[in-house]
Amino acid sequence: MSGPPPLPGFVPTHLVDPFEIYVGPVFENGATGAKTYVMRADCRHMNRRGVMHGGMFMTLADLTLGQAVWDATDKAAVVTLNMQTHFLKPAVEGDIIQVVPELVRRTRALVFMRGDFTVDGEIVFTASTIWKILGHT
């Protein structure tokens, strides 16, 4: 499913993972290392209670924070080691979910990246993640 960007000035994020293409699109705006990402919650993302599935929130976090890790490492090969999430408020169909990933710390082998995900300026979901840069000890 595609469609126009949900906010002016945003362009589609280039996705390569089949799962991300399947559940996307996601859009971005801003300079490398300081990007804002948005997605529009649609009917595919809802659960049986009519709110966005927690798995979609976590997939969005893996996707957007992973893009930010790439930006922070000059597109190094990385894997997610850990993700800690809090679900503060449900999102519903039509909501535009926004995040500005925050680089917390980068070491030689690890990247710590977090994000507050907002709808209309209110935090609905948070994720803190740890990534391993492959080939570095």
Binding site: P18, F19, Y22, G55, T59, D62, T85
Partner: protein, 141 residues
């Protein structure tokens, strides 16, 4: 309902009829083990679940474990609904195309409206993800 994919036992029952679970599934429930202390769910890895590196996407694994733990939270409490409050996932190892991924979910503690759960995902006998989480349930008797 589509035919059960290869690799699942005859007892597997599809549980993903609607919404996002149906879109990214199908997911199946397997018989409990350890006298009901461990609830099991499973899916078979397809192309749509992959990342570009040839392993299962982390978002897919977290979506599956969230579904498995949420189902367990409702089943254990008799609740009509429930929502994830927090979830912590450790990505222990990769999963591959056509693997049967099995979730084994346990209750750590149940209170009146909150339930603490833990889960492990296996590909065969290989551990690939460990999760702990907290659910709020509604409509429990």
């Amino acid at each position: 309902m589509a035919d059960r994919p290869a690799g699942l036992p005859d007892e597997a029952q599809e549980v993903s009829s609607v919404g996002f679970n149906n879109y990214i599934g199908p997911f199946y429930r397997l018989p409990d083990v350890d006298g009901g202390a461990v609830r099991r769910l499973a899916f078979v890895v397809a192309e749509k679940h992959m990342n570009a590196a040839g392993t299962i996407h982390g978002g897919m694994l977290m979506s599956f474990v969230d579904m498995a733990m949420g189902q367990t939270a409702r089943a254990e409490t008799g609740a009509t609904g429930g929502s994830t409050v927090s979830l912590n996932s450790d990505f222990v190892g990769p999963g591959r195309l056509h693997d049967v991924i099995e979730a084994r979910v346990r209750v750590s503690r149940r209170a009146r409206t909150m339930i603490f759960l833990s889960a492990e995902l296996f590909a065969g006998d290989r551990l690939i993800l460990v999760a702990t989480g907290l659910w709020k349930v509604i409509g429990a008797p």
